[in-house]
């Protein structure tokens, strides 16, 4: 079974620029999550989708971050404009059974 796919793997941008990340979950997984992982810390949830509806976006900085999941499959996470403190690894995860989440390889974002 193919795992969670993410692209790009690495991205370097200047502050105030915009960036987008893409995620393709494991086939059949209805729930999709975006996490932010700052170096040396555990992942922190940004947003959770159930099919194409948002379940929890309470920790998403909505003034600059947005996410969508069209047709309940792929998802994109966008940052506009980026700040220096957004430098992190952005992880996508999906789940079928309750709570056991499977993660993708992540996108490492560096904001200069």
């Amino acid at each position: 079974e193919a795992g969670v796919a993410q692209s790009p793997r690495y991205k370097i941008i200047e502050k105030r620029q915009s960036v987008a990340f893409w995620c393709n979950p494991i086939s059949g997984h209805a729930t999709l999550y975006w996490y932010q992982q700052i170096l040396g810390q555990g992942p922190k949830l940004l947003i959770q989708f159930q099919n194409n509806g948002v379940v929890d976006d309470s920790q998403l900085p909505k003034d600059r971050f947005s996410a969508e999941r069209l047709k309940g499959v792929d998802s994109t996470l966008k940052i506009q404009p980026a700040k220096l403190e957004d430098s992190a690894v952005y992880l996508c995860a999906s789940s079928l059974a309750r709570r056991r989440q499977y993660f993708g390889p992540g996108t490492r974002l560096t904001v200069l």
Partner: protein
């Protein structure tokens, strides 16, 4: 605030020895716990999970122990191998309403295996 934490940030063991990674949680309402392994440059990889109605669960070379009395979780790795070198995270979850709930991660323990 309530969070999942780890007692030790780093752990160094000899190849072939058993490893024990500890985790403390503070939310007594948490009813599901999960361990992940994260190698450098990769996403977290599922190792094993346990529900609060159990106190022990075994997998291949790994055992998770849950002590709800003291809100403590541990991951035991038998016959540790160099390939086990990674950062290990525990995460907690509590079911509420109709949602699956969200995983709350600790900061991680870095396991180094000496040959």
């Amino acid at each position: 605030g309530e969070s999942v934490g780890l007692h030790l940030p780093t752990l160094s063991v000899q190849e072939g020895d058993n490893s024990i990674i500890n985790c403390a949680y503070s939310n007594s309402a948490s009813d599901y716990f999960i361990w992940y392994k994260q190698e450098s440059g990769k996403g977290p990889q599922f190792i094993i999970d346990i529900r609060s109605n159990m106190d022990k669960r075994q997998g291949q070379r790994v055992t998770v122990l849950l002590n709800k009395t003291v809100k403590h979780l541990s991951l035991q790795i038998a016959a540790t191998q160099p390939g086990d070198s990674a950062v290990y995270f525990c995460a907690e979850n509590r079911d509420y309403g109709g949602s699956q709930g969200n995983l709350i991660f600790g900061k991680g323990t870095k396991l180094s295996v000496k040959p």
